[in-house]
């Protein structure tokens, strides 16, 4: 009884579990304009899922998988495969395997010895493939949600779902094993030095560890991220790159707690105009504005509250942030969903900014106002 009263009172005063606060972007995640200043490699609609097959850089754009030669000065993308649904994730290895996840839930091999094989027919959940990882003779699949397709990620967040799962599929036998369930939109995975899985759990703004055998889940390896994490990629100099596809904001955190408002919003407002994170913003006057004073003398301030942002975080081998690259409120290269380290130079796909850019982390970085 007292607990209920205390919870109610805490909600009223905005304290304890009901406190609406956000971790700051400081220290290693100090804002800069590095992504905005990075060299443009390619302008293409909604690029995502950067991968390397040993020769070519693969990426997806809509329902197509494309590739380009990274050694060429100008990237000339060629179509590798086309599908009937948007490509939501892909994984490639040096052996020619190319696994693709689609928005309709299918997970299939688009190239290599297993070409045409649909993984989802083998008892793996078929709903929301968000990330794939080829790990030797196994394929790791992140399913974001049991209720929504990948392109309905905004709804999944605003519904506060935690129905995601991570699967490991033995490619030799085709036998699937669920490593973890009840996750809040797993959106990226990587292997650590001990072959444990590191998974980005987006709606809980953290990275968690999963043993390869699916034993007990480890505590959060990195918690309290200032945005929603997406794909993880190994870094050439050790450690990882973590893409953060949208920022957290106090307004969204507040709306997430207002269930009646959310229900009304789902019914009455187009998803693009919800008070929710976005891959890009500022393109329509129908979009919700946040706070006041975002513009002064017609100039959008870089520190203005925003629904979309571009952020790539470099993590050390212990998954602690050591550097970061940003495109801030006044930038365009938002919605960073994937990246690829090519011997120290990093390709970054800005899905919201319709661009693939090339970062040289060594030439970084310069501070900025908060």
């Amino acid at each position: 009884m007292m607990g209920v009263l205390r919870r109610t009172f805490d909600r009223f005063r905005g304290a304890e579990e009901d406190v609406i606060t956000l971790p700051p972007m400081d220290g290693a995640i100090r804002p800069n304009q590095a992504i905005e200043a990075a060299a443009l490699v390619l302008e293409i609609e909604r690029p995502d899922n950067l991968a390397f097959d040993g020769r070519r850089v693969l990426f997806s754009s809509g329902a197509e998988v494309l590739a380009f030669d990274p050694s060429q000065e100008t990237a000339k993308p060629a179509t590798v495969a086309s599908f009937g649904s948007e490509v939501t994730c892909l994984a490639a290895d040096g052996a020619g395997n190319l696994a693709v996840g689609l928005n309709d839930g299918a997970i299939l091999f688009a190239a290599g010895p297993r070409k045409g094989r649909d993984i989802a027919d083998r008892g793996v959940e078929r709903s929301c493939p968000t990330a794939l990882l080829l790990a030797g003779e196994a394929l790791v699949v992140c399913h974001g949600s049991r209720r929504n397709a990948p392109d309905a990620w905004k709804r999944d967040l605003m519904e506060r779902n935690a129905s995601g799962s991570v699967w490991r599929i033995d490619l030799a036998t085709g036998k699937p094993a669920c490593l973890s369930d009840g996750l809040a939109f797993p959106y990226g995975a990587a292997l650590d030095r001990s072959n444990n899985l590191v998974v980005a759990e987006s709606w809980r703004h953290r990275l968690i560890g999963l043993p390869p055998d699916g034993a007990a889940r480890q505590p959060a390896l990195l918690d309290q991220l200032p945005g929603y994490p997406a794909r993880l990629a190994p870094a050439a100099r050790g450690g990882y790159w973590l893409c953060v596809f949208a920022p957290r904001s106090r307004l969204v955190e507040f709306v997430l707690r207002e269930r009646d408002f959310c229900e009304d919003m789902f019914l009455e407002v187009e998803p693009d105009y919800w008070i929710a994170p976005a891959l890009n913003s500022g393109r329509s006057f129908l979009e919700p504005l946040q706070g006041g004073a975002i513009k002064q003398l017609g100039i959008l301030k870089p520190w203005a509250p925003t629904r979309s942002y571009g952020l790539l975080i470099e993590l050390d081998e212990n998954l602690q942030p050591i550097a970061s690259f940003h495109s801030r409120a006044d930038g365009k290269r938002h919605g960073v969903t994937s990246c690829l380290d090519l011997d120290g130079r990093v390709l970054v796909s800005c899905k919201g900014g319709d661009a693939i850019v090339l970062l040289d982390p060594r030439s970084k970085r310069g501070g900025a106002n908060r």
Binding site: A15, I20, Q320
Partner: protein
């Protein structure tokens, strides 16, 4: 200029131990005379003799050419010698205006009239202090301003300022220097005691240097430079060691995020403040007085509480914490080394050992439980006196008998005994002599090298730039900008703090 005040062969002894030895000092009419020296050099004692606070053991004084003797400060004040002490002498329960007019009240005075005239007077000095505020509610800097205002109001011919700028921000210092110029132009003579050598060089006409109670040198300010002064003060050059600008390559890499302050709010002092602190780094907090640095640190350490409604969150070791008392923070590993050591840092009538043992008791780390273990206390005193190089006249010296620098070392020792994970230093070298500053800096560096998270609040820019691995600038209750030593310059930091 003729001599207004002369001291000839002044000696002062305590229990037969001389602290001022046969010192000659001359103050000219309308001059600013800086009195410099390490802590324990005898500056304060000499100035107290001048202000009638203590009596000399030997020697003579001349005021306006006539022999003078000031048995009490009141008599000195009546003769036109006012003193602004390092520790304020204001009545904490009275308002600023009442303190200004204390001892000068009319039989029938209207409180409103007192406030109005106090307001006008403070404004004329460019001091932004609310005359209706009680002194207890003011920060150290504002108390200092009131103290200065009181001395100016008494229309003294000689004003002795003992560390007047230690608690002031650079902006306030600027106002203070302008005030000194105004007083000088009115013919007031000023004795300026400070550890800030640059300030002495900037505003003094003449400089006198004392060392170990003895007169070392007196000359025009133009005849000195920083190195020459330091050599005279300590007998060696420390300038290069203390405030060299560190490059980015010397910055310690951050460890685990230990503290995350998120949207912290406390009235108007702290507003939606957010920042993180990492293990193995010194995080420097800079800002003007009133920018919310100390308040934020005090909330983190459980000394004051954040707003009850929507007060934000403090996360320590990835756990949300809300400390009701400093003891809970200490037991979690957060210690706060106060800016006001005399009020909050130690028990001044207790010995070094007693004070250190009190630190141990705060976290129940002592071996005797409810009983005091005297052997443990003595061992503690011996080991920390050695570790921190605390210099005292004897083993059982009381804290009050130590110099400012040694008192600060004692406060630091007391805090470190509690085996902290996060140490918050609030103005660690305020009122500390130049020799001890180096030792304290080395000590702070050692803590960060050992992997502890360190927050250092300082109003002295060279200190912030030299020591910090990250610099957070506060303005109006929140962090507004972050610098690394590589991109920080004093100008950029100050610009962020002011604009």
């Amino acid at each position: 200029m003729s001599a207004l005040f002369e001291m000839q062969g002044i000696t002062k002894e305590y229990r037969g131990v001389p602290v001022v030895k046969n010192v000659d000092f001359t103050l000219l009419e309308g001059e600013v005379h800086a009195l410099l020296g390490e802590n324990g050099a005898g500056k304060s004692t000499l100035s107290k003799i001048m202000g009638g606070v203590v009596q000399p053991t030997a020697g003579a004084m001349l005021f306006d050419g006539r022999p003078a003797s000031f048995p009490t400060p009141a008599i000195a004040r009546r003769n036109g010698v006012a003193m602004v002490f390092q520790e304020t002498t204001l009545v904490p329960s009275m308002t600023v205006a009442q303190n200004l007019y204390l001892g000068d009240e009319r039989l029938l005075s209207r409180l409103r009239g007192v406030y109005i005239s106090a307001q006008q007077f403070l404004q004329s000095l460019n001091f932004h202090v609310d005359p209706t505020a009680t002194v207890a509610s003011l920060g150290a800097a504002k108390k200092q301003m009131v103290e200065i205002a009181r001395a100016v109001r008494q229309k003294a011919k000689i004003i002795i300022f003992d560390e007047p700028t230690a608690a002031l921000t650079p902006e306030e210092k600027h106002h203070f220097f302008a005030l000194v110029e105004r007083l000088k132009s009115r013919g007031v003579s000023i004795v300026f005691i400070s550890h800030a050598i640059e300030e002495a060089l900037a505003i003094a006409d003449r400089i006198t240097i004392l060392r170990d109670g003895e007169h070392i040198a007196t000359d025009a300010a133009g005849a000195f430079d920083r190195d020459k002064i330091i050599r005279a003060m300590v007998g060696r050059s420390l300038s290069g060691e203390l405030y060299t600008h560190r490059g980015q390559e010397q910055v310690r890499s951050p460890g685990r995020r230990l503290l995350s302050v998120q949207d912290l709010t406390m009235g108007n002092a702290v507003r939606n403040n957010s920042f993180s602190v990492y293990e193995g780094q010194i995080t420097g907090l800079f800002g003007l007085v009133g920018s919310g640095r100390s308040e934020t640190a005090r909330i983190v350490a459980g000394i004051i509480k954040r707003d009850f409604f929507h007060g934000g969150e403090v996360r320590f070791e990835e756990r949300s914490v809300r400390y009701g008392t400093p003891a809970s923070a200490v037991s979690d590993g957060i210690v706060y080394v106060t800016e006001d050591r005399k009020q909050e840092g130690f028990f001044e009538t207790m010995s070094i050992g007693d004070n250190l043992y009190a630190g141990l008791l705060a976290k129940n780390l002592n071996s005797g439980g409810a009983l005091v273990n005297m052997a443990e206390m003595r061992a503690l005193a011996d080991s920390w006196t050695r570790t921190l190089n605390i210099r005292a006249t004897h083993k059982n010296a009381r804290a009050v008998e130590l110099s400012g620098g040694n008192q600060q070392k004692l406060v630091i020792g007391k805090a470190l005994l509690q085996k902290p994970k996060l140490v918050i230093f609030d103005e660690p070298t305020r009122g500390v002599d130049v020799g001890a500053i180096g030792e304290i800096h080395n000590f702070i560096n050692r803590l960060a090298d050992d992997g502890l998270a360190v927050i250092m609040i300082s109003s002295y820019l060279p200190e912030i730039v030299n020591l910090s691995d990250r610099i957070l600038v506060f303005r109006q209750g929140r962090v507004v900008e972050e610098f690394t030593p590589g991109d920080a310059t004093e100008e950029r930091i100050m610009y962020a703090a002011v604009h």
